[in-house]
Assembly symmetry: C2
Homo-oligomer: 178 residues x 2
Amino acid sequence: MLDAVLAQLVEYGYDALSVDAVADRSGVHRTTVYRRWRDVGGLLADVLAEATGDGWHPPDTGSLDGDLVAVNREIHAALTADPPVTAALIAASFRSGPAADALRGFWADRYDRCAVIVRRAAERGETPAHTDPRQLLVAATAPLYHEIVLLRSPASLDLADQAARAAATAARAGAFVD
Amino acid sequence: MLDAVLAQLVEYGYDALSVDAVADRSGVHRTTVYRRWRDVGGLLADVLAEATGDGWHPPDTGSLDGDLVAVNREIHAALTADPPVTAALIAASFRSGPAADALRGFWADRYDRCAVIVRRAAERGETPAHTDPRQLLVAATAPLYHEIVLLRSPASLDLADQAARAAATAARAGAFVD
């Protein structure tokens, strides 16, 4: 069912994403789909809630640079994937309040899960103790979203690595201490 | 005319942004509007082209930190403005190819104009000579767009200052040398 939402979204865009189209594509009866999701925003919110609940854990490479580089390579892969599911969900978040809320929830969950990267770095003495995890994680990852999603640049893997390492460098110098 | 486009976009969103609505709002004859712009994407592209051609120059505060903080405060003001013109243009860029192209052009122009910030920093000996201006500028500014535009957070001015200083710290350590 949720696969049908994503397939429809990627193939035809948000404008073609009606509950009817998703029902037809998935073979589920329209009444059932309406009862459960009511509207397109609800469908997208569920797609993201499913992704949020997955068993994802951040990489543990033994260094702050290595962990942030690994996270950024995953983001790079997601943002340049074919079909462009992540890009389509971000675009849809500009159309649907529930989808925007769900996307924010997805990211908040990922920042929470990634906070352990920053804790481990502090325990190893790589960064000051009171480094703010979210500020560091946003600094490391935002350049990728900016170049690929907003500027629609053909952002290379080099950018992923370089943005991660630049944020780690700033963190070691205490730039994200509250 | 272009003011009418922005007013319509901010007030009613992209879906209500027809050439007819803009013509009615501006008092210009519909035929004239169609002859000049053909479609909504063309209208938005012209709005952005006008902003691109303005006489904007980056601040010159005497330090890399100061210059980047000043740029980020301008971006913060634009992204939190009421009415939210910039946010509405970014949202529209997900709907219209010409608007996306124009937004990319606007940003490319701003990065070009801001490159002097990075040159001056190198001349003052604050940063290594071969620091890449765009990579540094994206690192300094992307966290603001990420928090406000994608995560819809109530991003404070503190974030603007902190993101600018973190990028400057990384630049001084050579993180953006090609």
